[in-house]
Every structure is written in C-alpha cells, then in structure tokens.
Amino acid sequence: MKVIAAKKRRFTVALAGNPNCGKTSVFNALTGAKARVGNYPGVTVEKRSARVATDDFDIEYVDLPGVYSLSAITLDESAARNFILHDEPDLVVNIIDAGNLERNLLLTTQLMEMGVRVLLVLNMWDEAEKQGLSVNEEELSRRLRSPIVKTVGHRGIGMKQLRATLSKMLLTSENSHYSSPISYGAVIDREIETIAKSVVATSCNTLPPRWYAVNLLENSVVLEEFANLALVEKADIMSQVAKSRQRIEQVLGQKSEMAVGDGRHEYIRRTINAAIKPGSGDRMAFSNRLDNILTHRFFGYPIFLFFMWLIFQTTFVLGKYPANWIDKGITAFSGLVAALLPTGFLTDLLTHGVIGGVGSVLVFMPNIMILFLGIAVLEDSGYMARAAFIMDRLMRGLGLHGKAFIPMLMGFGCNVPAIMATRTLESQRDRILTILLIPFMSCSARLSVYVLFASAFFAGSAGNVIFALYLLGVLIAVAVGWLLRKTLFTDHDIPFIIEFPPCRRPTFRVGLSHMWERGKVYLHKMGGVILIASVVLWFLGAFPRVNHYSQDYDGQIASLRQSPNPSAADRIAHLRAEKASEDVAYSFVGRLGHVVAPILQPLGFNWQMGVSLVTGFFAKEVVVSSMGVLYQIGDEVDETSTSLVKALRNPAGGVTPLIAFAFLTFVLLYTPCVSVLIAMRREIGARWMAFGVSAQLVLAWVVTFAIYQLGLLIGLG
C-alpha cells in the first residue's frame, strides 16, 4: 500500500463497564460490529476486539467483560483487571448507565486509582433524560478527572462526539501517570498513605502504590505482583497491612474492607450530589408494572414456558427449512462435482469427504443463528433476568443458576448451540456443570433413532417409549448433577445476586449483530475442526477398501443388467446392498465395531448395533442409515423405512424389544457426536471434554447393562 500506513499511530483502547450498561452496543457502534471473538489467555472468558484504521489512527478496541468492580474475585473481573494492568491500554473508555450512576461509578473510581486515562461515557442518556436527570458536565468532569460524552449506544447517538473526544485524548497522551487519589475519609486515608509508603520502598513500584494499598485493605485477593517480592519485603508490607486494618477496625467499628467500601461510597455520593440533579421519574415504573405479571405467582411460569416454546420452535422447527436447503444444495453440488470428475479416490474424498464435511458444518448454522437472535432478544429486553428470577428455585435442584434453564432446554433441539448458549452464565463452575449435563438432553438427531426402534418394536406404545427415554435423560441429568456437586463441585454455591435492568424494547440492531457474531464464532472456532473431523471420519468409514469380495458383485450386476427377467432389478438392488454392507464391515469403522462387539455383548447388542454405534459418533442420525446399510436395505433409509423396520424385527436377527430398549438407552447416554465434543472443547477445555465423554461411556454401559440384565431376570427377554 502507500507509505502513509507506516506513519499511522497505533493505540489500544479498552471499553470497561458494568453488565447491562450497554457497553457492547457502544463497542459495536464504534467499530462497526466487526468484532473478533476469542478468549483471554488461559481462561474461557470471552475477549471481543476489533481493529479500526482511519487516516491517522490504527486503533485496537477491546471490549472488556462486563464487571461491577475490579476486585478480581470472578474470572471476568480478573480478566478485565489483568488486561488493564498488563496490556496497558492507552485509554479506557468507561461506559456508564446514566440511569444508575451510583452503582456504575464504583468501577470508575477503581479505574481512576489504577492510574489509567479514562474517558467517561454516559450511556442510555435518552432514558435518564426522560426521567428528568440533569448533569453539570464540567463539575463531574473536574471531579472525576476525565472528559465526558453522552451517548445512546444502541441507536448510534453521540458516536461522532465520542470518536472526536477519543482521538483528541489519544493525540495528547504523552505522560503516563494519571493516578487520582480519592478520599476515603481521614482515618483510612492515613493508613493508605502509610501502606503506600512501604510499597514504594519495595521493588514493586510499577503501579500506583496507593492502588496497592487500597486493594490490600479491601482484601481483594493477593496481587500477583507480590509473588515477585522478596520474602522480607512481603512480610514488611503484610505486617503493616495487619496493623492498619486493626486501627481502622478499632476507630470505625467495622471490618476494614467494609469501611473502605463505605469510604468509596461516600466519595461517589459526594460527587453525585455536587454534579448531578436526579430526575423525579422512576425509570423502573413501567418495568415494575410489567414484572407484576412476568413474575406473577400463577402467570409467571406459563409466560416463561410460552417464550421458551417460541424460541425452541423458531430455532428448531423454523430453522429446519434453511438447514434442509443447505443439505439439498450440498448434495446437489457434490453430485455435480462427482459427475464432472473421473471416478476414483480423489473424487470420493472431495465429494463425500470434503463437500459432505462442509455440509455437516453448515447444517448447524441456522439453528445457532436463530437461537442467538432469540437469546439476544431475551437479554436486550431484560426478560432474561426475570426468567432467572422465577427459575432459580427450580434449577437449584440441579445445582445450577436460574439462567442455565435456557441452554438445557435448547439441548433437546441440538447440543451444539445449547453448549454455545452457556456463555450467558457468569461463573465458570456453572458453565462446566451445565455443559456436562447438556448431553443428557435427547437431541433431535437421537429422536430419529428412537423413532426407528420404537416403531419397529413398540408399535402400539411408541410415543410412551420415546417419552420414557426423554424422561430418563432428564432424571439421569438430575442424578449426575447431584453426584458432581457432592464430589467435584463441592465449592459453595455461587451467589445469585443479580440486578434487574429496566424492561426495554429490544432493538433490531443488537439482535442482528449478536446473531452474526455467534454465527461467525461458530464458523471460525469450530467449523474448521468439525470439517477436519468429518473428513477423517469419512475416511475411516470408507477405507480400507475391499479387494476381494465374497462374491463377484459387479460381474453379477453387469450380467443381470442384460437379463430380460423382470426380477432382475430387485436382485441388483439386493446385490448392491450386500456389497455396501461388506464395504462397511471391512472399513476401519466396521472393524472398530467388531472390536467393541464383545464389550457390548453383555448388553445384548449384535455386531450391526456395535458398528452403527461407532458410526453414530459422526452424528447420531447416522446410526439409522448405518443400520440400513448393515441390514442390507441400501443407503437411503430413514427412520420411517418400512423395510428396515421389518429387517430389524426379523427374529433371525435376535433383536428383542428388551434389547431394542437397551440399545436406545445406550444411544441416549453413550457419547455426544463429534461436533458437540468440539463445542465442549472450545467452551470448557479438552480435559473436561475428555472427562465428560469417558463418564458418559461408562454410565451408558452401566445403565444399559442394568436395564438389560434386570429385564432378562424378570423374563422380558
């Protein structure tokens, strides 16, 4: 490009703010919704960032996780704090909900103490103004030592001014320390000063010493920086801190962290009183009336269930149409490619492996995008907080947060978007627990296996059998959840202290950008891996090829083609099916199926079942088509195929209703499909994923074994 590019000045700008302050919409308005989504190093806290280059600047915007403070107690808080401490952004844009200054300014005071440059954004200004709030900008700006801009993020109002102020600040940022001491009252200030002095005396002096001092008195975790200190120095500081705490507790009559909190609060109140005239209106007045209905003792749950039904239906029923178009398009395209290229290994790899693989990646897209549109509407409207409020008592039975209901429910449609939806949960513990339980929700792919077997063996009561399987999955989730909380997740429950944002009309803008972003995350972070996994699985299913078939299928088919006999066509179809079955049995997957057959024998499964379970790892509905191939019905069967039902029921196959039910139980429990595993790995890491799969395989075997053997015992065999 041109030489100018080299002259551009590069900056990093971080956006910080409370949850629900509209930070993300300001970020999107600033960057044009071009966020790259990744994780902060070492943790699964989401990092959204975007690079915006103009004529003069090259700015990297980072959207920090929404936090109420920087006390570093939660993962989100420490990710935000570490970014500010270690990545040293040139500027922190602090987004504030103008309708709730008192709570939002807490974070602001902490940023001030950390010595970063702050640009204050009073967001959702329209709402605050409607309530009659007025602000003396000059005074507020003077007291908080930062410029102030008013915006309405989700409408893009005030962005011009924000950009202008931002550029001006970036261009004048030459000196580095902006630490502004806030006063906590005479008693605490004196102790802060003393501790700060002993901090200055050590080798740990890269950050404002007062900030260290405040943190030590507030007891908000031991700072990592202290690890680098000599033991003597550390002991010095700690004994000073202990003395100071004692004095504060003596004089002020409460624990030092409370006293410091009070001091901060007083400071914020003084600032607000001096610079802000509160409005007379209550912005929650409308929400309050609405909440009387939304959280009503009798109407609350029906309304909630209606919204859940609506989201589920649009995601999975409406989402089926675009998914089918994608499927058809891919099949047509692969057919076209196959017709154009010579037959052979490479063509097979391209058509079945790669193009088929792309299809298996894309097929999730409609579900994911619609679901996240729905979640965005729930969050943006404020209903999510209400839903969590009424569901909390029930979900606590599973040891989960009220919000976890949504990902669990979505699991019944497809586990992949459900796992992605756990991002709405705040704590890592809740996310891991929820993700480990989601696979017990019978996804729609498993339903096709249920339908096949239920209609083959339980014709009269197919509905009941399928319902029993869904119920079994839920009951097992409850039991496993209980067990996990008694063993691995024994740490105290995460507090359920949430704020109710006002109910708002959701905006199209927010919904669409959320939907695109999640779609992109899926394609970028999981699509590639799912594609590779699909190609590998295809390979394992197609190779090695049979060199010597048990009979000369091709020759027989060729000669039958010449024959005028009317039954020749049937005979050809039969030979083809037999050949396909021999292919599968000979492939790696088929061999693996034979290897696991003895393990599955105590469960009553025949080898065809073993092989199709192995192929089910690719996707659960593949179990059905594998059955079709192995029972020599042909490739193109689905769960309603009558010839497959007949073949399964054939007594010669040895499958009894008891075995059929045991098999379905196994399909419900054994392992999620490869795409789910990839989603799990992304959200909770390879270790938890491996744990989840192993636990499920063991559980599946044990439960199925118990069902089968008990069934035999009481004579159901």
Partner: protein, 78 residues
C-alpha cells in the same frame, strides 16, 4: 424469638428496613458491596419469586434479586 436479630429474609413484601450488618464472606460479600449493600442503607422488599425464593428488593436506586440464604446474612432493623 425476640433475641434473634431480624434479617432481610424475615421481611415481607412491601416492607422497608435498615441494614445493620452484613455477615457474608468472600464473593458474596463482594457482590453485596458492589450493589450498594452497606450499613445504614435502606432496603425495600419489592416482590417474591413464585416459589417465595429468591426475593427482589430495591437498594440505592437499583432493583436486585437475591436468594433467601443470602438475604439471611444481612441483619436489619425496621
């Protein structure tokens, strides 16, 4: 009965009380402090969830939901 101090969990819908002390520890205390729970602050119970737990209250201009178990860590007087 009279000996035991009253906590937030004892209040009924619509009742107002003043916070005397907060007995929570760790992350719960931090969260409470973040939301403006402090000595001397006045809270009002707005409503209860359908199963009477959690409870919703107003404090420092915000609407907050907490579980009964958390509310019982906050002693109050009417």
């Amino acid at each position: 009965m009279a000996e035991r101090t009253m906590t937030l969990a004892d209040l009924r819908r619509g009742e107002t009380a003043k916070i005397i002390d907060i007995h929570a520890e760790g992350i719960t205390r931090q969260r409470l402090l973040n939301f403006g729970f402090r000595r001397g602050e006045v809270v009002k119970i707005v409503r209860l969830a359908p199963l009477a737990d959690p409870i919703e209250l107003t404090i420092a201009g915000g609407y907050i939901s907490l579980r009964r178990s958390e509310a019982s860590l906050i002693s109050v007087e009417k």
